[in-house]
Symmetry: C2
Subunit: 273 residues, 2 copies
């Protein structure tokens, strides 16, 4: 079956978007469409140019016999600015206020197009890091870990508060929760993480950083190494933060229960070194 | 900024793929690219034809002044057959066997390209149903609910085993777990589900169907209605199943601990009426 250029461009766009960071050879495309490699190269040049112009990402070309092309999902600075601005507005809404000064964020975590953007931005922040696997803790970190994993095309593992029969043998550690100051347990399936894996730790909310420190301790048990930390929301009013090298999209500055106001600003996404 | 047809096709493909079931007007595209509506119509016809030919999905055209185009994510029967076949092989691997005849499936749930296919297939099964929201239960149902929600472009809500301060006011029910026969609790944030919502219930594994029945009872508390039930794996050896109208991708026929064999076949995906 012969493909016209217009058809190839549409199908290649879909094919690449579904497989971030996967090396696809020119031979594969050439056979898929019954087209000469020179035509495929021209197609890819147009796709790369359009992806970059439209803030979709870029294509990396790996030369040589075992070479090919990789799609890198990358948000532009403008798109990131716009989206984080929207997110700040969404989060600052007074009806999110819960007793105790907590914020209701669950609706955002369950909205796929918001999670897709969150995933794209946080994947962009770690575009140049070597990441083998993403780790998060149940329950609210899962959609964020899932979203980042789609853009980096790496698996994610879920740490749980208790051991389940369907997880097989597990490793568990104790940690001190930053907010409640109580000793809690974290459990991860033994077979879910390989020795030496480079791990991106992800969570929805970070205050003192107790949960994230717990996950870092868990990495030691697996002889895995920390590749980075990403959170959706960091909170300002931590007396002493246990974690200092992380990326956040938004920062909660102040929650005032009395006059029902929430102050939210950009996180450190644009200001890390 | 003027766009050439090749650039338009690439950008429109990305734009539509990111927004399943969202109505996009021809005017929007026409302004985005500085192109005549007649050119946009031609572009969309090429995209529709290619999406259908390549098993990506289809475009629905809504005529009239408030009309436009909608991308429907739809797996072809061939792709569904191939993927379910792969899934059966993956699941039948003896090293998934856990004490008590349970199966380790967590790695599949954390692999984004597998979840993307699972989501696409299950979204295809409910392509003609009106679905407002997807409901699942923590923890293992979440990646599946998330994946389907991306293809149907509707939010998902997470039922939990206990009440958390960050969920605000909640509604809780008791149910009998099919496997342990014990009374358990299910909790859902009050503000997460609107009255009258049409809900697709999703889980990773169904044996007797106790957990799913629990979620159905929870729907009643919210005056929401059931739009469908989707599971990744159903298990054969249920004495009496509490749920009979559902879609499953694979079916676990037999788990033999002695000779370490697992028998997995296609679920009812292709055989429902």
């Amino acid at each position: 079956m012969k493909f016209r250029r217009s058809e190839r461009l549409i199908d290649m766009t879909h094919y690449l978007l579904e497989r971030p960071r996967e090396l696809v050879s020119l031979t594969f495309f050439s056979e898929r469409y019954g087209s000469a490699k020179s035509s495929i190269s021209e197609d890819l040049a147009i796709i790369k140019e359009t992806f970059e112009k439209q803030g979709i990402g870029t294509l990396q070309t790996i030369p040589g016999a075992s070479g090919g092309v990789k799609y890198i999902s990358k948000a532009s600075i403008k798109d990131a600015k716009d989206f984080i601005g929207e997110l700040c507005e969404l989060i600052a809404s007074a009806d999110r206020l819960l007793p105790g000064g907590y914020l209701y964020l669950t609706d955002l975590l369950g909205t796929p197009h918001i999670m897709n953007k969150v995933g794209k931005l946080l994947a962009t922040a770690f575009a140049d890091s070597q990441i083998d696997v993403i780790m998060t803790v149940a329950t609210k970190g899962i959609p964020i870990a899932h979203a980042i994993s789609e853009h980096l095309n790496v698996p994610f593992v879920i740490v749980r508060g208790d051991s389940k029969v369907t997880e097989g043998s597990t490793v568990s550690i104790n940690y001190v929760s930053g907010s409640t100051k109580r000793i809690q347990t974290m459990v991860l399936s033994k077979r879910s993480l390989n020795e030496g894996a480079k791990v991106l730790i992800v969570d929805d909310f970070m205050k003192a950083g107790g949960t994230i420190t717990g996950m870092m301790n868990l990495l030691d048990e697996f002889n895995a190494t920390l590749a980075g930390i990403a959170v959706l929301v960091e909170s300002e009013d931590a007396q002493e933060r246990l974690v200092d090298d992380y990326v956040s999209l938004v920062k909660l500055m102040d929650v005032n229960m009395k006059n029902k106001s929430i102050k939210v600003v950009e996180g450190n996404y644009f200001y890390r070194d």
